[in-house]
């Protein structure tokens, strides 16, 4: 089932690669890096197509986490002793790796959080609660994950502000003219996802940011699905906030990043109060630490964040241009295979897509699809993907979603397609 070396054509729009340059991707070699993939489920080889929910962890990341726990564990930023120094060095080293990975100007602009949800809530509390007031408006898009809707709704409710929604077309593409019309002097923040977890759409973030900045409005980008599949350059995007979940890019759960422009982070309120985020504390008044500590109260997920650093090292060791092109080709192949099956409908047909392929089968509920696929060893997500407004927009209760990574193979896509056929047979 493991494919040999493949030659795929480069995709210029993905990762800024050169157009049409041939790239080689040795998927069999890459699969060896991920021990979890070499197992059987229900007697069948595991076909892991739930990468948009959480990606798998390469051995080098597992080893780095183990080494930390075996040799370096201690609390950071506190002790003068040897182990605390080592833990601090590794933790801060991971931050510098993140900085380079997303091309932030300074590592203090990279705040460690547990994941995107916590990251967006950090900005809601730190920025939103300080700068949004009654009558103001916050713009989100119609395809957002609940994590980029609910915090803003909570804020609007608290402040008497209004949530505005950028609509999308039937393909799952945001309508930029409608977006432009929503921007006005009351707009305080625009919050959009880079890549849709439910539809796979790649949003034109640079364009979205440019239009907001014309009105002086900052933009928060939910990069949960962007960071694993695209080359991220926060300076080029000119995003004011870019949020990352480590566990969706080959690191352990509990790791993640809020990138924020230093001048914004400086002006914001802290998020959680506690140890490590202070300069001085008296019962009369507390003054806060500088960046990034101001936003990192308490003992963080040290091992997980060091793991994120190791995952970045791992990605840097790959030919990422080839990886992106290969992922693109896999998605195209899967789209072609599933579209060819009668009764299958793809949800999300944007021109620019990556990672996720949502589909529905006529007269079969996605949960039943998920169960039958699981019996074939195939892991997909079935449900609303924490994007109930997206389901409502397409007038469906849920979808089944196959989501790909560079370690998936065309043979796995074939297995998916035959299993989908089987679902149709069971329900015929």
């Amino acid at each position: 089932m493991i494919a040999t070396e493949k030659t795929v054509s480069g995709q210029g729009q993905v990762g800024g690669a050169a157009e049409n340059a041939p790239v080689a991707w040795d998927v069999a070699r890459v699969r060896e890096d991920f021990p979890v993939l070499a197992q059987t489920v229900n007697g069948k080889p595991l076909v892991y197509l739930d990468n948009a929910a959480s990606s798998q962890v390469p051995q080098v990341v597992i080893d780095r986490g183990s080494r930390y726990l075996q040799e370096e564990h201690s609390n950071i930023h506190r002790g003068v002793h040897y182990l605390s120094q080592r833990a601090t060095t590794a933790y801060e080293g991971a931050r510098e790796k993140v900085r380079r990975f997303i091309n932030a100007r300074e590592s203090r602009e990279c705040i460690f959080v547990r994941g995107c949800t916590e990251g967006i809530n950090l900005v809601m509390h730190g920025y939103g609660r300080k700068f949004v007031s009654a009558g103001d408006e916050i713009i989100v898009s119609a395809m957002e994950h609940h994590a980029n809707i609910v915090p803003w709704q909570m804020l609007c409710e608290e402040k008497g502000a209004t949530l505005r929604v950028i609509p999308m077309n039937d393909a799952g593409e945001l309508l930029l003219d409608e977006y432009e019309a929503l921007l006005n002097e009351r707009t305080k923040l625009v919050c959009v996802m880079h890549v849709s977890n439910a539809l796979g759409t790649i949003n034109p973030i640079k364009e979205i940011v440019a239009r907001a900045h014309k009105q002086g409005v900052p933009v928060l980008v939910d990069g949960a699905q962007g960071a694993p599949h695209l080359t991220i350059d926060v300076q080029d995007l000119d995003a004011d906030f870019y949020i990352i979940s480590g566990h969706k890019m080959f690191a352990p759960t509990g790791s993640g990043v809020v990138y924020g422009k230093a001048e914004l982070l400086e002006r914001m309120n802290p998020f959680l109060g506690g140890g490590d985020m202070i300069r001085t504390v008296t019962f009369e008044k507390t003054t806060y630490a500088g960046l990034p500590n101001k936003f990192e109260a308490g003992t963080p997920a040290i091992a997980s964040q060091i793991g994120l650093g190791a995952a970045i090292d791992y990605l840097n060791g790959l030919d990422r241009r080839a990886a992106h092109a290969y992922e693109h080709e896999l998605l195209d192949y899967a789209t072609e295979k599933l579209t060819a099956i009668e009764g299958v409908r793809i949800i999300g047909t944007a021109r620019e897509k990556v990672g996720a392929l949502s589909f529905v089968i006529e007269d079969v509920h996605p949960h039943d699809v998920g169960t039958i696929l699981d019996q074939e060893g195939i892991a997909v997500r079935a449900g609303h993907h924490c994007a109930q407004p997206v389901m409502k927009r397409f007038n469906i209760p849920a979808t089944a979603r196959a989501s790909f990574s560079f370690y998936n193979t065309k043979e796995e896509v074939d297995t998916l397609a035959s299993a989908v056929q089987k679902v149709i047979e069971v329900f015929s």
Partner: protein
């Protein structure tokens, strides 16, 4: 595939395609909405409850094959039964789908509902089978809503030991 064919038996597929008592009950004097926030399944159970007995019962809603078939067969099983009889049935059904009751060795009142025994092999689907029952229970108790999140865990013994 044996566990799978055990789950998706013809009777279940048939009830999924043609759910029985699938309508709003005009004579209902009690009803409750059931919701599984995990998957978005939702249904409404309508009940005409008289003299401590379910005189008539129906349901509406959307969900997977398991939840629809379970609701459909539930309405057939509980029609005409007293509150105590329904409570016993719910208890037995719940214990069967979570693997606590072996319907083949333990005497029970489940009858045709034993067709759902296969659900116990699919822990992720236990809530699908029990949503309609939780909702029926809420309607019986005079509540107007049930969700699978605050009705106690539908956890199988296998999950606890994992």
């Amino acid at each position: 595939m044996s566990e799978l064919s055990e789950l998706y038996q013809q009777v279940i597929l048939d009830h999924n395609k043609k759910p029985r008592n699938f309508k709003k009950l005009e004579t209902a004097n009690r009803h409750a909405d059931g919701f599984n926030p995990l998957c978005g399944d939702q249904l409404t159970v309508y009940m005409q409850f008289e003299d401590d007995r379910i005189a008539d019962v129906s349901f509406e809603g959307s969900g997977c094959a398991i939840s629809k078939a379970s609701a459909s067969m539930m309405t057939q099983s509980v029609k005409g039964k007293t509150r105590a009889e329904v409570e016993t049935l719910f208890n037995e059904f719940h214990r069967m789908v979570t693997g606590e009751l072996d319907q083949e060795t333990t005497p029970n009142n489940l009858g045709r509902l034993t067709i759902f025994a296969g659900v116990r092999e699919f822990p992720a689907r236990v809530k699908c089978a029990s949503l309609s029952w939780h909702t029926l229970n809420a309607a019986l108790a005079g509540e107007d809503a049930a969700t699978t999140e605050n009705l106690g865990p539908d956890i199988t013994s296998e999950q606890v030991s994992a």
